[in-house]
Amino acid sequence: MTQTEPVTAQIRMWWQRVEIKRIVWIWLGITVVLAIFALIVPARVMGSPASPTMRAVESTMTIFSVAAAPVMALVLSVAVYSLTGWRSRGSEPPIGDGPPIRGSGRVTATWMVVSSVLTMFVLIWGLGEMQSLSAEASAPNAMVVNVTGQQWVWTFSYPQNGNVESDQLYLPVNRPVVFHVTSKDVIHSFWVVEMGIKVDANPGEVTKTGVVPDTLGTFVVRCAELCGLLHAHMETQAHVVSSTDFAAWITAQESRAS
């Protein structure tokens, strides 16, 4: 071998090869499209958040989707390019084999490192989120609402407000609330959709979840665990009202009960 041969044999580094460049362009294009989709669509479909919890949920959804965009784009760009650049045309069998690439230590190691880093990111984000949301749920001056699931109706009682009972959930805005949830019969799941909280209602147990409703309005409470015949109809409304309106409602309920 002369002195020049190793140089000419190496003249194309891996990033200079035509197929790599084309795949990178395809990857970039798909990443941009997916990232735009990720920034707009999931949060819009999930609707307007009614609590900081739901805001965190929607932003997590968006961030995870944006982070997933280059990963999905990588898979798709290689797949798409392979169908144009490496395809054996026609339905005839190919007339030769491909190169005997048994593996590549560098590629495998890079892949492992990147996937571990992404996993770490997702994990740490999730743990951080859990930490901040659990702080909300156990705020010391939280109002307690007892939630009872029964086939197929939700009922609520307010032990700190004269044991008022209702089939609809009334909450004062900007006040932390903790739900003590149980069931009279089978497993139900207490889900306040727009506030992003959910906890199962189990017979013989009391489970807890908490939230700070920060938006006035009427929201929906559904059951998220199949509980028999009318599971689909086990739905009621959550009304977030001002503190004065809430006090007025409590008074009205108390006078009706007596």
Partner: protein, 230 residues
Amino acid sequence: MGTVRVYLKASGAVAAGVLVVVLAGTTLARAGTTPGLLNATVKGTAQTPVGVLPHAFLELATYPDSLAGEHGPDGGSKPDWVSYGPTTNLSAPAHSLVTITIKQYDSGGTITNPYFASVHGTVDGTMTINGQTATASKVDAIGHTFTIHAMPTNQDPLFVSVPLRALPDNAKPAPGSSYPVPNVVTFSFVTGGPGEYVWNCEYPCGDGTYANFGGPMSARGYMSGTFTVA
């Protein structure tokens, strides 16, 4: 074989498959016996807190078995299940005052959720039981409840729940009938716009099943039905 014939044969096979699925679907859809619809009868108008509205009436009964009502005199496949009669598919007009009278022929016991021992959703929060006005029944003597509810997001919210007092366990049959003299409960509520609601009993009376909510409690045509506001 010509290309056209090939495609015809394939399409024929696919069409046959679709036909099988359609047959399965229509058989299933028809198989469940749909109880007849009971429309509320409208008689005149009435004064309500929201103005003068048409006044509609429905008459129902709760039985300790299925021998009266929609399952025929032999009680259908489950003659010993408690049931509502004459049918469980109910309908009432929109924007009306609906008055329902229920004759309660069954015994009962202690209700599991005291919320349903009180009256909710009626015009003035009361019911009439055997002629006397009340806002609740005693929690240890409930026979059934009549509870209307539904997805509030598809129609005007409507939540009405009335406890139906139980007869004593040792009540004797009235002369000329196989059932004792019933407790008669009457209540009225105002309907909103058109919508599809469901109703069911919230006193667990499905004896022998877990939480007493199986059996008739979980079956349309017995302790659960539909309430259409049209």
